[in-house]
């Protein structure tokens, strides 16, 4: 797939992922071409349904940028996100999709470069996997 630019939906926790994306922007780090950032007050706000809906409605991959474990302002939000992710992975297997399409990345506010690198790595990985065959 020569011109395939994977669509990535990046859910960003307001306490880590979002400020990190802001920092990456400030540092003028470049992002892959087709990323949609979704700001959430805490990774714990991300329902399993959001992860699936993103793929159903056209994303090729989904990233969750959440705080480091034991660093959640709301105590367990990032752990909840992690268990919902593993539930989503089980669903993806049954649907017949690669579970690598959804991933969590733990970081802090000052991790702009890590966020940009993760997005690039994801984009490369999705290029190899090819477009999401289940999108509606």
């Amino acid at each position: 797939m020569v011109n395939f630019e994977p669509k990535i939906v990046a859910f960003c926790c307001d306490q880590s992922g979002y400020p990190a994306a802001d920092m990456a922007g400030g540092l003028e780090l470049n992002f892959p071409g087709n990323v949609e950032f979704v700001r959430v007050p805490c990774a714990g706000r991300i329902e399993t349904l959001y992860l699936l809906k993103a793929l159903e409605r056209g994303a090729d991959g989904v990233l969750i940028f959440a705080c480091y474990e034991e660093n959640c302002q709301f105590l367990r939000g990032n752990l909840r996100a992690k268990s919902r992710l593993s539930y989503a992975h089980r669903l993806l297997e049954k649907i017949g999709l690669e579970k690598e399409r959804i991933e969590i990345c733990h970081l802090a506010t000052n991790c702009g470069p890590k966020l940009a690198e993760t997005l690039h790595r994801k984009s490369e990985q999705l290029k190899k996997l090819g477009p999401n065959p289940a999108k509606i």
């Binding site: 793929l55 669903l91 649907i95 509606i136």
Partner: protein
């Protein structure tokens, strides 16, 4: 409340194999509480089914609805217009709700999306456990509020079997022995003398499901 678990996706996909347009109907009562068939689960399952079918190359249109209680004819009636537009219904309500829809819509196939498992209690978030088998003649007043019908593997009525060990059941080691629970509870209440009262044999053939379909009729409530 009634507890249920979603059926495996592959099994549901098999039921729906020959349909392209379905209604996925949840229920706002028991199955919402045990997170098997509420509005959220309807959304999640509908999304998973659409994607699985898209991947298989046979797209599925799945409409979504979650009536307040699927086991009441009035709420089933609310679905009439939507049911007209589909070829089949997948219900993630308990078995009662599935049957209410089946009775209400004689021309539309209705499939179960969950396995109705037991009448149970929320032990903690995400954990549910069986508590009652709707035996038709409750004896909780004699057993300190712990049910030996639902919670003793052998449904013993007069004290534990010989396999009760360290508070656990010999049939299921991870489960508490019901009679240990009964003993502890009566002990706490200062009512251990109750252990000596013989609970008479039950008339299973009259009170329980063994007698065939059970029915409750309240003449004063009929319209």
């Amino acid at each position: 409340m009634i507890k249920a678990e979603q059926k495996p996706l592959e099994e549901i996909l098999l039921y729906l194999k020959s349909y392209d347009r379905i209604l996925l109907s949840g229920c706002g009562a028991c199955v919402t509480v045990c997170q098997a068939g509420g509005e959220k689960e309807v959304g999640l399952l509908a999304s998973a089914l659409r994607m699985a079918r898209m991947k298989m190359g046979t797209p599925l249109e799945a409409l979504e609805a979650t009536p307040a209680r699927q086991c009441e004819p009035e709420f089933a009636a609310e679905l009439s217009e939507t049911v007209e537009k589909v070829e089949a219904v997948l219900s993630v309500a308990c078995g009662v709700g599935v049957q209410t829809l089946a009775r209400h819509f004689p021309k539309t196939p209705v499939f179960p999306g969950v396995n109705t498992t037991f009448l149970g209690e929320t032990v903690t978030h995400g954990v549910w456990e069986e508590r009652c088998q709707a035996c038709g003649n409750c004896i909780l007043e004699r057993t300190g509020g712990v049910c030996p019908v639902a919670r003793c593997a052998k449904q013993l009525f007069n004290g534990p079997c010989g396999g009760s060990s360290k508070g656990k059941c010999e049939i299921k080691r991870e489960a508490d022995c019901a009679w240990q629970l009964i003993y502890d509870r009566l002990n706490g209440l200062g009512q251990l003398y109750r252990m000596e009262e013989i609970i008479p044999a039950r008339r299973w053939g009259v009170e329980s499901r063994d007698s065939g379909l059970r029915r409750i009729v309240r003449e004063d409530l009929k319209v």
